[in-house]
Symmetry: C2
Subunit: 359 residues, 2 copies
């Protein structure tokens, strides 16, 4: 079966091994005679998957014991709402570092709830603000940031130190792609659909002391504590999505863990950035070098017409999703965990060939 070179910005490529195992087990998991998606979430089969998935994530990211792990629904969008609803208590503030659309959207939701302010921002979003550009106002409970920005192709390579203010990060587009020091964060959340599975499940990693800030006025369905108390079965969990995350996490483990995944991702990103930088200006990177994303390689060709020609020809040759986001135009290769080095090498060859023909 021919598999495409899938550079989609998310939902994104999954390892073929994961899909093949899912395919083999689709009509009957183990000896059950049922698909995972047909099982009660209280069944012994699913229960084992549910708990094992959280344990695998704990091991892979080195999550300390004073952090809770949750698997929720609603995507990062619901987290945009839950975070201020739970943690923006009366008379307190929350700062949002704006690095692009998704951080702006998170900020807008918080503004509906209480006193949210912009803690840092660069015009044009081609660069991540430095630590010394972050302004923390008085009575701030938390600072929110977006670790990787899919549209412009920027990424934090160092996180700000906040001295006692809670740091909350949306890691939807780089969770599990590199090692992180979880201790720097009070809350990490991430939709799974880039580096860890399909859409429809959101990973939440929450330090216990943040739960003490939780507003008791928030209704149970929107509180972290009520979901965690029920082991994320307050609503029927998205069982099949979590099963796929389980397979994906095991695949990461088999690759040698997150450290090895990070090396591989660096290799993929370096390959493409080096090629862009050495193309004599035919391909031009969009974001500033110091803030370049290892997940989303954004670039432009000399003209808009060439951008379009490049995207169309790439599609013809089996490279999917290399169009840039409509807000900034140009091209983008998203090279999440599920995209192989081989796919990146073939894209580089195609880019070379395209330049030879059109340069």
């Amino acid at each position: 079966m021919m598999r495409a070179h899938n550079f989609s910005s998310g939902p994104a490529a999954m390892p073929s091994e994961v899909l093949i195992q899912a395919q083999n087990e689709l009509l009957s998991y183990d000896d059950s005679g049922m698909s995972i998606m047909e099982m009660s979430h209280r069944s012994k089969y699913y229960d084992q998957i549910h708990n094992e998935t959280m344990e695998l994530i704990r091991q892979l990211l080195g999550i300390p014991a004073n952090y809770k792990i949750g698997l929720l629904q609603g995507g990062a969008r619901l987290q945009f709402a839950m975070i201020p609803l739970n943690f923006m208590s009366k008379g307190r503030q929350a700062g949002y570092v704006l690095t692009d659309t998704w951080s702006e959207e998170a900020f807008k939701e918080a503004e509906h709830v209480g006193s949210a302010y912009i803690a840092g921002k660069n015009d044009g979003y081609r660069r991540i603000p430095d630590s010394n550009e972050i302004e923390i106002q008085r009575d701030t409970t938390y600072i929110h940031l977006t670790s990787n920005n899919t549209i412009v192709g920027t990424q934090y390579h160092d996180y700000p130190q906040l001295n006692g203010v809670h740091l909350i990060a949306d890691m939807t587009s780089d969770i599990m792609s590199k090692e992180i020091d979880v201790n720097s964060f009070s809350l990490i959340y991430a939709g799974a659909q880039k580096n860890l599975g399909p859409s429809g499940v959101t990973l939440v990693i929450l330090r216990e002391d943040l739960l003490e800030e939780e507003s008791s006025l928030t209704m149970p369905a929107l509180r972290y504590s009520s979901h965690l108390k029920e082991n994320c079965m307050l609503a029927t969990p998205p069982t099949y999505n979590i099963y796929l995350v389980n397979l994906f996490a095991k695949w990461i483990q088999q690759q040698g863990g997150v450290a090895m995944i990070e090396k591989q991702n660096q290799k993929k990103a370096t390959l493409l950035y080096d090629f862009i930088d050495q193309s004599g200006g035919f391909y031009k990177g969009y974001s500033e070098r110091s803030s370049r994303s290892h997940m989303n390689i954004t670039f432009h060709l000399p003209t808009k017409e060439l951008d379009q020609k490049f995207i169309a020809q790439a599609y013809q040759e089996g490279f999917i999703g290399v169009n840039g986001h409509h807000r900034i135009g140009g091209c983008r290769a998203s090279i999440y965990n599920g995209v192989s080095l081989q796919s990146c090498m073939e894209l580089e060859m195609f880019m070379k060939h395209f330049q030879d023909q059109n340069g």
Copy 2:
């Protein structure tokens, strides 16, 4: 491949045809070289599935043009919160008809938001309140009810007429199992995981005039209007779950539509209830006859020991999920759309055999 007789209360059995098609397409949908779950939700392939699924649901349930259709995340649980957050405006009330645990949970969430009251209730929950037992207090915006109750095994067979007050129904456990007159409702919501697909996607059917009641104070992520405006892509939709709903809806269409599904479900329910009623008291139905659910057949054997023996032996013989909910004990056969008449006939034979051995 041996498939179990799956009587799980949800997530529940799916038609084998649906699973086989999903299996065939798992590594490459159509000629794409990608799994549905790997595709951008903005891709032409997924976009087509997304819109077609809503159109199929509209056709199957005969949903008039003045209703919007949404596919959201978070299960019925998130709807428990979104409904009062959006529609319980200041100085107005909402009435909840309590028929069991899930309606109680919906009521509890509403009490956090504003003035919610109990509009009807029967002790023990073995019977659905009659229309004349529903009390509508002044300044009521909506009445909420749960159409089918999985734990006790009761179901509305006629819905109350409310004369101008909005009727909102949680149909998580009987949506698509029978024909309904959508015009009687202002809002219908249903998790897909019983009769229409896997867990992780919630169907919402909403009459446009209800949207006028929506509170502008509610934050965008929790408002129906903002989700509908973005065609349910405000968050990245649970694409694979919606694809499975698409296949399930097509399967319903191939069976002859909801009218034929309803006939089949009646046949399944009648088979088992008749057998229970004619067992000379060995098997005893839990709910009152007038309110019996066609989805969840709840019954007890003469002793708790026999209940346990029945459940264990059934499991050995490939009948999965026939244990009752721990709150009421006993046994339960959930016979949603995905459970075949054949499975029900084999269960009946097993029940007969068990009675012969133990009666």
